[in-house]
Symmetry: C2
Subunit: 187 residues, 2 copies
Amino acid sequence: MQSARELFSRSGYESASVDDICREAGISKGAFYHHFPSKQSVFMDLLNEWLSGVDQGLELLRSGQSDASQGLIHMADILPEILRTAEGRMPIFLEFWSYASRDPKLWKSATAPFERYREYFANILAGMEPAEAADPQAKENAALAMMSLAIGLLVMGVIDPKAADWGSAGRESMRMLLAGMKGKTEK
Amino acid sequence: MQSARELFSRSGYESASVDDICREAGISKGAFYHHFPSKQSVFMDLLNEWLSGVDQGLELLRSGQSDASQGLIHMADILPEILRTAEGRMPIFLEFWSYASRDPKLWKSATAPFERYREYFANILAGMEPAEAADPQAKENAALAMMSLAIGLLVMGVIDPKAADWGSAGRESMRMLLAGMKGKTEK
C-alpha cells in the first residue's frame, strides 16, 4: 500500500500500473492479487485508511465536550489537519474521482463515505439531550447542511489554504447552523 | 466553442487536441489561435459562459423577493437546474480540475469563480436592511458558510441526484444559516 501511494503521487493514478506497483514494492503479481482484486481496490483501501484516521480525530475532538452541540462545533477543528494531509494528494483524488465517474460501480464505492458522514451527523443530532433538541425534520435538514458545509469548506480550503482560518470558519458555520436549527441563539 | 464542448464530452479534456478541435469545427489552426491562445482558454471560456447563465438565473430568483433574506433563500432554487446541466459534464470538470491542479497559473483562474461567489454572497448580506442586519463579522462568516454550503450541496447532488430534493435542502440550509447569523428564528 505504501508503494502504491508513493507511485500514485509520483506518476498519477492512471499511469501507475499493477506491474509498476509490484516493481516498486518488490513483490510478485501473484502476491499482489492475493491481497487486492484490482488497482482500484488499493486506492479504495488507501482512501479508507485515511478516512479512518479522520474518524478517530473527529471522535477525539467530540469527546470531552460538554454536550452534543459543543461536540459538533469542536469537530470543525479537524479541518486544518485534513487540509494539511490533503496537500499534495489533491491531484490524485481528483484524477481518481474523474476516472471513477466513468465507472458506475466504482463511483458508488468512491462516494459512499459522503453518505456515511451525513449519517454520522444525523446520529449525533438524534442523540441530543431533550433540552437541546429541535424537531426531527429540522435535524435531518441540519445533518445534510452540516455534511454539505464540511465538503464545501474542504473544497474552499484546498483551493486557497490561506484565504481563511478554516478551523474557525468551520466552528462559526456550525454554530450558526445549530442556532438556526434550534431557532435560538447559541453561545 | 461548440465543437470543443462536444469533443471534450466525447473524448475527455486531455485527449482532445487543438488539431482535433479544428477538424471538428472545420477551421484552420490559424483561425483557432486568432481567437484562443490555448486549449485551456477554450475550456475557461466554456466554463465562464456556463457560469454567466448561472449568474443570470440567480439574479432572476433573487429579484422579486421581498427582502435580502428571502432572496438568498430562493436562490437555492437554482440547484436542481445546475445539477441538471452539470449531468454529463462532471467527468470533464473533474478531469480539467485534476489537470489544472498541476499548473498553478491555470489553477488560479479555474478556481477564481469560487472567490467571486463568496463576494457575491457577502455583498448581498452587506446590503441588508438595518432591521435584518447582523454584525459585520457574522456577515463575513455567513458569506463563507453560504459559499461552502452551495459547493457542498452541489457535490452531494452530483454524487446522488435522487438522494434529496436539493432545491428544498438548499432553501432550508440557507434559512438555518440566516436565522443563526441573526440569532433569531427566521420564518
